[in-house]
């Protein structure tokens, strides 16, 4: 009896000690992290990037860098001197943690890009990849442990972080004259908050591209449409021939629906023009506006006409957006046209490596709806922001913003540089060159509408578009619901 009681006391004491240890652990972690970062890569990966995916990414990064560094560094050397001297400083063993959404071929290319920097400076990049970027970043920022650099998918999030004071102004250390030579004023404006530059736009997407198979077009006797009317006539002709004109695919996990809002953005910009577009994005006109409604009806016609879309409205919602780029290239093709941003080229070439650009696969610019606004393009771009100020982070940020780093990726394909000092000759094939040229010379260009709306509005719109795909005749109900959401979100 007595012994039992004593054991009890001892166990209770042990529990108390354990409790104290648990309570102290969160407080100790932030102070430990920097020291750990300085010692070994393995520990940093474990402390700053808790997911297993990130750990493996870090290891693969190391190997890829080791194997590819010699070739890529040679190309960058021939491409010209680095933008600033900072890139050549000795940063041996210093770590830079980067948070982004890239995976597979995109990540491999980015690893080659930062491999060059690692080789030059001795610094180490710790990559953490996640498809759920907003949630991971929010949690890390709230927890006082933000990454050094984050690659955001849209400027709305960047503006929000800047207004909350979580970002470091880039004009404090970057050569602004160089930045102004490299970037068009519009991009610098988009990346600024209260007249300070906080973001570099990195990898652009031209969202005017409708992908098709030229050989299948020739075989069917189809010609590339210039206007919306011609486009619909072409679609009707295909249906009459027993073929399916459109492949539309919207599934992407928690971000499902964005390909559909991309469609709508492009239609609204081409149908209503930039003024209405800007008013719509900032909610100074309601969703129920006549021109917005007309644009929804245009898209509703495509979604709702029998035989137009592969798998119908439910197929749109159930098909992954990457898989939606394939049906044009099967034999025989199961669909003939797929509207998706310029990044679709990467999906097509990864799935069908033997397809020749221009002859095997090609794109035509989004057909004109209102001749007044012909040639308007919507765009997208990844946004680089900095959240910790150390020499290594400054160096890496400057390196990424410069033309040589962007040229490295441009040469690998699937990359449209925002930096205008990157020569068109860097693009490896005629299609990416054409996409880049269209982007630089567009008369009117606007950021994809969803990307500049508040996150809650963007998500509500995605959700609503998924429902709209299945009920394309419900234009009024869809717009009323969106207007109600907007009223509670734009406060």
């Amino acid at each position: 009896m007595f012994i039992q009681k004593r054991t009890g006391l001892i166990i209770a004491g042990l529990l108390l000690v354990a409790l104290v240890a648990v309570a102290c652990a969160p407080a100790a972690a932030p102070t430990l992290a920097p020291t750990a970062a300085a010692t070994t890569a393995a520990t940093t990966a474990a402390t700053t990037a808790p997911t297993t995916a990130a750990t493996t990414a870090a290891t693969t990064a190391a190997t890829t860098a080791a194997t590819t560094a010699p070739t890529t560094s040679a190309t960058s050397a021939s491409a010209g001197a680095p933008t600033t001297a900072a890139t050549t400083a000795n940063l041996s063993g210093q770590h830079v943690s980067v948070l982004g959404v890239w995976g597979s071929s995109e990540l491999t290319a980015f690893q080659k890009v930062y491999g060059v920097w690692e080789k030059q400076t001795g610094g180490v990049v710790d990559w953490q990849g996640t498809r759920d970027l907003t949630a991971v970043l929010t949690t890390r920022v709230q927890g006082g442990n933000p990454p050094d650099i984050a690659i955001l998918p849209n400027p709305a999030l960047m503006q929000q972080l800047a207004s909350q004071g979580h970002l470091i102004a880039l004009d404090s250390f970057m050569n602004m004259n160089q930045v102004k030579t490299d970037y068009a004023p519009a991009w610098i404006n988009l990346g600024s908050y209260q007249n300070k530059l906080y973001a570099i736009f990195y990898r652009a997407a031209n969202k005017e591209t409708v992908w098709y198979n030229p050989q299948a077009f020739t075989a069917g006797g189809y010609t590339v449409p210039k206007t919306w009317t011609e486009w619909m006539a072409l679609a009707n002709k295909m249906v009459a021939d027993g073929k399916t004109p459109f492949s539309i695919a919207a599934e992407n996990g928690a971000a499902s629906g964005w390909p559909l809002t991309d469609w709508m953005s492009e239609i609204v910009l081409n149908n209503c023009g930039p003024t209405v577009y800007d008013q719509w994005v900032t909610h100074t006109i309601p969703w129920t506006d006549a021109c917005i409604k007309q644009s929804f009806q245009l898209f509703g016609t495509i979604l709702g006409t029998k035989g137009y879309v592969l798998g119908g409205g439910q197929g749109v919602d159930a098909t992954n957006f990457v898989n939606g780029t394939y049906p044009m290239y099967t034999n025989p093709p199961t669909a003939y046209m797929d509207y998706l941003g310029s990044f679709a080229q990467g999906f097509i070439t990864a799935q069908y490596p033997k397809l020749q650009a221009v002859t095997g696969y090609n794109f035509f610019p989004f057909p004109t709806i209102n001749s007044q606004y012909a040639g308007s393009v919507t765009i997208g771009a990844d946004v680089l922001v900095m959240m910790h100020d150390t020499p290594a982070v400054r160096s890496f940020m400057t390196y990424l913003a410069g033309a040589p780093a962007q040229e490295t990726w441009a040469k690998l394909g699937g990359f449209i540089a925002v930096n205008r000092s990157v020569p068109l000759s860097a693009y490896p094939d005629p299609i990416s060159k054409a996409v880049a040229q269209d982007l630089y010379t567009a008369k009117v260009s606007r950021f994809g509408a969803g990307d500049v709306m508040p996150a809650a509005m963007q998500q509500a719109w995605w959700k609503q578009m998924l429902l709209f795909a299945q009920n394309p005749s419900q234009v009024d109900a869809t717009l009323n619901s969106l207007e109600n959401s907007a009223k509670s979100i734009y406060k």
Binding site: A18, T134, T138, L310, Q314, T319, A460, L466, S485
Partner: protein, 410 residues
């Protein structure tokens, strides 16, 4: 002195638990309630605005509606299947193997289960090979049925004729059966009668046509159910009736297969008529094992002599189950049901992985996650969390009270 030592020891014992509870449960709850009264960035007090938003806006209301659907369907299915399997497993020789097989999904994480079932429900456009098990199975059967539709038509027709003939023989042979057959004949007459009555009532009163229509439908359903039950009951007691039932089943099967011959792959998770059911099915697949194990343990506690006695008294197996077994383990059923309600209220993983709350499948926990971590609206997120907590607490209190009563009886 001894008394004091004892109380000190007991405080030491519960101390760590209390500290952990205070730090990791009580404190967060208080903070969450406080945050639910603040604006999106938690910088300004907004009173009950977030709650008003939650109960007047379309999207959170939809999440609440779906949670209700989950509770009703999910709890009924898990507890129901668990009970049925427990009773059935009790009678087979490979009981533990059967139970283990049903319990197995409990070992799979919800995220894993979601990913697995996403493949089960996968959809490809018609004409392309289906990867999803469900669509692949149905389209394979459909393809087979289409290829053999002539044979199916013949078998179905013959079975149908046999069913009809034997039905007529049984009709003449059994008198009790005549009564139920009469009910079947009366049934359409009853509908006509009620319809006539309805129009007569409507002529003199202010009841709206839709109220009446509802009334008529309810009466029809009750009558139809009574007729079908008595019909099957009577048929089972006659050899000809049994043949008729078998014939009817075969005919129905052929008809079903012929229907599948024109099967088009279904987008289970995107189609609004199937998706909530498809999601609940995953949860049922995971949790039925839990209900089964607990209920099975309770069944083992029921004295076999009581069951024997009721059988001797002339009760059939269904009566033994419904009137003896179920009342005797009702306490356990209640505990399992309340546990399931709490579990299901908190559902998140399955929905997040499989649909992210799209296509009108949103639930509170998922809406909460998106509000707080995607839209950075911590006020609204916290308000949803408090609503979820408020929904769970009464069920939990009920569970605790029940538990105490049981302890008190010992």
């Amino acid at each position: 002195m001894f008394q004091r030592r004892r109380s000190l020891t007991s405080w030491l014992w519960v101390g760590p638990a209390l500290l952990i509870l205070a730090g990791y449960l009580v404190y967060p709850v208080i903070v969450t309630v406080y945050e639910s009264l603040m604006n999106s960035s938690l910088s300004r007090f907004v009173g009950l605005d977030n709650y008003i938003w939650a109960f007047t806006t379309e999207s959170p209301l939809l999440a609440l509606r779906n949670n209700l659907f989950w509770i009703i369907v999910g709890t009924t299915a898990t507890v129901g299947f668990g009970l049925v399997f427990a009773v059935l497993a009790d009678r087979v020789r490979f009981e533990s193997a059967a139970k283990a097989a049903i319990f197995m999904p409990m070992a799979i994480s919800f995220v894993g289960a979601g990913v697995i079932w996403k493949f089960m429900y996968d959809w490809q456009p018609p004409g392309i090979p289906q990867i999803g098990l469900l669509n692949a199975m149905l389209s394979t059967i459909g393809g087979w049925a289409a290829a053999n539709h002539v044979v199916l038509l013949w078998i179905g027709a013959i079975a149908g004729v046999v069913a009809l003939v034997t039905f007529l023989i049984a009709l003449v042979r059994v008198r009790t059966f005549l009564l139920s057959a009469l009910a079947i004949i009366i049934f359409p007459l009853a509908i006509l009668g009620v319809g006539w009555l309805a129009s007569a009532v409507q002529a003199v009163s202010e009841i709206t046509p839709s109220d009446l229509a509802l009334l008529v439908v309810v009466i029809q359903l009750v009558l139809a159910l009574a007729a079908v039950v008595s019909f099957i009951y009577a048929m089972m007691h006659d050899t000809w009736g049994q043949i008729s039932i078998v014939g009817a089943v075969i005919a129905a099967l052929c008809l079903g297969l012929l229907y599948l011959a024109s099967f088009q792959p279904v987008t289970w998770l995107q189609n609004e008529t199937t998706n909530n059911w498809a999601l609940v099915a995953v949860y049922v697949w995971i949790w039925t094992g839990f209900c089964l194990v607990v209920l099975s343990a309770a069944l083992k506690g029921v004295d076999a002599e009581i069951l024997e006695a009721s059988r001797v008294d002339g009760a059939n197996e269904f009566q033994v189950f419904a009137q003896v077994l179920v009342p005797m383990i009702s306490t356990t059923i209640l505990v399992v049901a309340t546990t399931m309600i709490i579990n299901i209220l908190k559902v998140f993983d399955v929905v997040y992985v499989m649909t992210s709350g799209n296509f009108n499948t949103d639930v509170i926990a998922n809406a909460l996650y998106f509000q707080a971590f995607h839209f950075e609206d911590f006020g609204r997120g916290a308000a949803l969390a408090v609503i979820l907590l408020a929904a769970v607490v009464p069920v939990m209190l009920f569970n605790i009270r029940r538990f105490r009563e049981e302890e008190g009886m010992r």
